[in-house]
């Protein structure tokens, strides 16, 4: 491996938004016929003016910044015009904001800043055609310091970023980000490789560049500062034959834009996913399973319920492999797992964990549950006798008495808390109870009048 490698990333994240950055056109540029999602603003018609920046994009940026320990800008953030000429840039300037947050780290690598900007359109050089559907689509550009040393570092950082975006539910699944990377080896200048669309592509581009630059230097040559393009199919980088310097952009504050006071944008930041990841790993969960679970908040909630019954490691395998396997097989989204299904899955997990059910029977019941059948009778047959109503009531009273916090949360409307309480009861009953019955008992005790409401 070459000496003194320095790698930095500029990740252009596509946040999940409904509309574009400065107009109300749809930001879904991937599924539309050319130039069907445009208006006077994003096509740069003379006299058109930008609307205030997309709120959701700013919120997404602040959520990312908070999760990565970045500090938000104190002064109102101005929007700048970055001037350059290109066929896909309708006004020949791009609106790009000043940093909304700085500092922080991603997978331990120091970050520079994050800001929002608009994407240009798409230019098909061969056909000489321009499609402006993408023009004005919101982007968040996250810039790292040149703090990485190996392609693997870049991959780890990008994997973490992807996890974060999924966890925060702000990613565009079909196209989460595109990456520019800069890389230098000791004794050479910095080379920028632009527009890479996948994590894998970043790794390949970096490997190619490091070896290209090293052999150049070993052969007595020089590495000049330049911008290169990554050829995804050939796995190589190609010189773009021009030099870009920031002086040429004539940055100026856009007189049509009001500065944005970030203090006026409030975002609720969920628990940091990297803390959850660490906690799961401490509980013996394998990292890849943990990442699958954290990347989807519904799965995470199923996992939390299951872990209360069976423990972390078992629950993680049950969720990340069995349940996710079933979802993938049926091409179902995770929101398919509703309260009823969770009520079926928890006793199943408990029975398998307690060794009262064979793996093949478990797979059969899992499929039945996903088919929408009530598996309780069969589960009972397979693993023995169920607890009666009295036994359930006794356990439910114990749990209600000991879990005051969860009870309070339930009363405030948290359905997750009910799952949690059901799980505890199920555990105490050794899994030998119908979740539906536990739910009924718990509700009658917690809601009072709940019985009538439920019929």
């Amino acid at each position: 491996m070459a000496e003194g490698v320095k790698i930095g990333l500029e990740v252009h994240i596509y946040p999940r938004t409904v509309s574009k950055m400065y107009c109300s056109c749809s930001s879904d540029f991937l599924n539309a016929s050319p130039n069907s999602r445009i208006c006077p603003v994003c096509s740069g018609q003379p006299g058109s003016k930008p609307m205030p920046p997309n709120r959701r994009c700013i919120e997404a940026g602040l959520m990312i910044a908070a999760a990565l320990g970045m500090s938000a800008a104190g002064a109102p953030v101005r929007t700048l015009r970055k001037h350059y000429f290109y066929p896909d840039l309708p006004s020949n300037y791009q609106r790009t904001a000043e940093p909304m947050a700085t500092g922080g780290s991603l997978h331990g690598f120091a970050l520079g800043e994050i800001h929002w900007e608009e994407d240009p359109g798409q230019y098909d050089m061969a056909k000489g055609r321009v499609d402006l559907n993408r023009s004005g689509v919101p982007l968040l550009e996250l810039v790292t310091e040149p703090s990485m040393h190996r392609p693997q570092d870049a991959m780890d950082a990008l994997d973490d970023l992807l996890l974060l975006l999924q966890y925060l539910e702000i990613d565009r699944r079909e196209l989460p980000f595109k990456v520019d990377t800069n890389v230098s080896v000791a004794g050479g200048e910095r080379v920028e490789v632009k527009n890479i669309n996948s994590v894998n592509g970043v790794v390949r581009a970096l490997e190619f560049e490091i070896s290209r630059q090293s052999s150049l230097l070993e052969g007595g040559g020089r590495v000049e500062m330049e911008t290169r393009h990554f050829d995804e199919i050939g796995g190589r980088t190609v010189s773009m034959r021009y030099k870009e310097t920031s002086e040429g952009y004539r940055y100026m504050a856009d007189p049509d834009m009001l500065p944005v006071d970030l203090k006026s944008v409030s975002v609720s930041c969920p628990e940091n996913p990297f803390a959850i990841l660490a906690r799961m790993k401490d509980g013996g969960v394998r990292e890849e399973d943990a990442r699958v679970i954290i990347s989807d908040r519904r799965l995470l909630s199923v996992y939390d319920s299951a872990a209360a019954v069976t423990g972390a490691r078992f629950a993680s395998v049950f969720v990340a492999r069995d349940i996710v396997g079933e979802l993938n097989f049926r091409k179902l989204p995770s929101c398919f797992i509703d309260g009823t299904l969770i009520g079926q899955l928890l006793p199943l997990a408990s029975a398998v964990h307690g060794g009262r059910l064979s793996n093949s029977n478990a797979s059969k019941l899992l499929r039945s549950a996903f088919d929408g059948r009530d598996i309780a009778p069969e589960l009972a047959k397979m693993e023995g006798v169920f607890a009666g109503r009295d036994a359930i009531s006794a356990v439910a009273d114990e749990v209600i008495a000991s879990e005051k916090e969860a009870v309070a949360r339930y009363r405030k409307g948290s359905s997750g808390s009910l799952n949690f309480l059901v799980g505890l009861c199920m555990k105490k009953l050794g899994g030998k109870a119908k979740a539906g019955e536990i739910i009924a008992v718990l509700r009658s005790r917690l809601d009072g009048a709940g019985d009538q409401e439920m019929k």
């Binding site: 003379p46 006299g47 020949n92 300037y93 004539r250 009001l258």
Partner: protein, 447 residues
């Protein structure tokens, strides 16, 4: 006025406009299908050709947009339409609003109907001239550094540059975004029309962020609110000293008219006046270069004019007039790395100084008064080869744009105007002052 009467009026004005030799319109409208009821019902309007009117050609008096059709209505235009105005056509102007005489139009200069052989002023040349000629009752122009007040003075009509941010700029083609805005003009005596135009177009517009905190004007209701005995005017003495004897004389006559009616007048010097012109031009060039960046020959211009981007660009730039090209080059230089701290930042700080001095003066008075233009209109062609002397004529109008405050002009002689500046959101009080002159029988034509 009944709708059929309004349409007959429109038809006769359209005929007159077609026969006119004044070159005040670049494109004339079709007859309107229906004329909405509203406070401006039946008012025949000229619209400067840098406002987008849906489905109409918009040239900005430039060959590069000769075949451009606007796909939407500017906010000011749609609001005027729904208030009942009938748009007669798109007024001639200096190309991309670059000029103070109307001579920089690719379609030839609009002619001054009052002073044959003299310029109409600019850049809203055709707007002022078409009102003075009686083709239009009123016009919507745009004022960046005096572009409405200059031709209004030269053609002896009334014009108001509103408070920055009070009238939406959506659909007004950019010249200098932080300085300009839509600005109404009307014939002398038609202050009520001017007031109603302001009431129609002003107030917040979701499509222009800078209007977010503005309020709609209440100019019609407040038109009689000028109380001479309760009014104090500061007269900028060093502004008057820069003017020709003819202009200074007409101006002083109007000041005496006010003083005789009880207005208190104080003479002061404005020390930052000398900074106004360089600050204005540097900032305007900078913003203009950015705004003009899109006219690169690929998006606008002649299709197939070049095979390489460089050829297309060269062709597109050749479609622009010399003054437009001069301003793009200077603006690009001012915002380049070499020019930035030497020019751009200094211009920003000079702007602050001008703004601060005007603001503090306006805390002590109701209006600041000075002539609108330092001299009467010059002869066509006289200054064409001398941009610096052309720029110098803007000295008295640019301070209001630099500080975002409203300023209006009313005729005090043939081709000369009195300019009144007020504090932010004082638009209504300027119109009330114009109305006061009218109500008191002000005669700007010397008998």
């Amino acid at each position: 006025m009944s709708s059929s009467h309004a349409r007959r009026l429109f038809s006769s004005r359209l005929r007159n406009a077609r026969m006119s030799q004044g070159n005040t319109f670049i494109t004339l409208s079709d007859e309107p299908a229906e004329v909405p009821e509203g406070p401006l019902h039946g008012v025949v309007l000229g619209i400067k050709d840098n406002f987008a009117v849906e489905g109409m050609r918009m040239t900005c008096a430039s060959r590069i947009l000769d075949s451009y059709t606007a796909p939407f209505d500017a906010t000011a235009v749609s609001r005027l339409k729904s208030a009942g105005c009938m748009i007669l056509g798109k007024n001639n102007m200096d190309e991309f609003a670059c000029g103070s005489s109307g001579e920089n139009s690719a379609y030839g200069p609009a002619l001054n109907p009052l002073l044959p052989g003299r310029v109409a002023g600019g850049s809203s040349s055709g707007s002022a001239a078409s009102v003075a000629e009686g083709l239009a009752d009123a016009a919507m122009g745009s004022d960046t550094g005096g572009s409405v007040r200059c031709p209004s003075a030269y053609c002896s009509v009334i014009g108001l540059k509103p408070t920055y941010g009070r009238v939406s700029r959506y659909g007004l083609v950019d010249l200098s975004m932080s300085l300009e805005g839509p600005a109404p003009m009307a014939a002398w005596g038609a202050e009520l029309t001017l007031a109603r135009m302001m009431d129609a177009v002003s107030g917040p517009d979701a499509r222009d962020q800078t209007t977010a905190f503005s309020t709609r004007t209440d100019a019609e209701r407040r038109i009689d609110s000028f109380e001479p005995r309760a009014t104090k005017v500061i007269l900028v003495q060093n502004a008057v000293e820069q003017c020709s004897a003819e202009v200074a004389g007409a101006f002083e006559r109007a000041i005496s008219f006010l003083a005789e009616r009880g207005v208190s007048i104080e003479r002061r010097r404005m020390s930052s006046l000398r900074l106004a012109l360089p600050a204005y031009y540097l900032l305007m060039y900078s913003e203009f270069a950015s705004a003009m960046q899109r006219f690169d020959g690929l998006k606008y211009g002649r299709r197939g004019a070049g095979f390489t981007p460089a050829e297309a660009m060269a062709d597109a730039r050749s479609l622009l007039g010399p003054e437009v090209r001069r301003r793009i080059l200077l603006g690009t230089y001012v915002t380049s790395r070499e020019g930035w701290s030497t020019w751009y930042e200094r211009a920003l700080s000079a702007r602050e100084q001008v703004s601060a001095e005007l603001t503090s003066m306006l805390q002590e008075c109701d209006y600041i008064a000075m002539p609108t233009m330092p001299a009467a209109p010059f002869a066509l062609g006289e200054r064409a080869s001398d941009p610096v002397s052309m720029y110098a004529a803007d000295i008295l109008t640019v301070p209001a744009n630099l500080s975002g405050i409203p300023a209006g002009t009313l005729p005090v002689g043939t081709g000369t105007g009195l300019q009144l500046l007020a504090g932010r959101n004082g638009d209504e009080s300027i119109i009330a002052a114009m109305h006061f002159f009218n109500r008191e029988g002000w005669k700007w034509r010397r008998e």
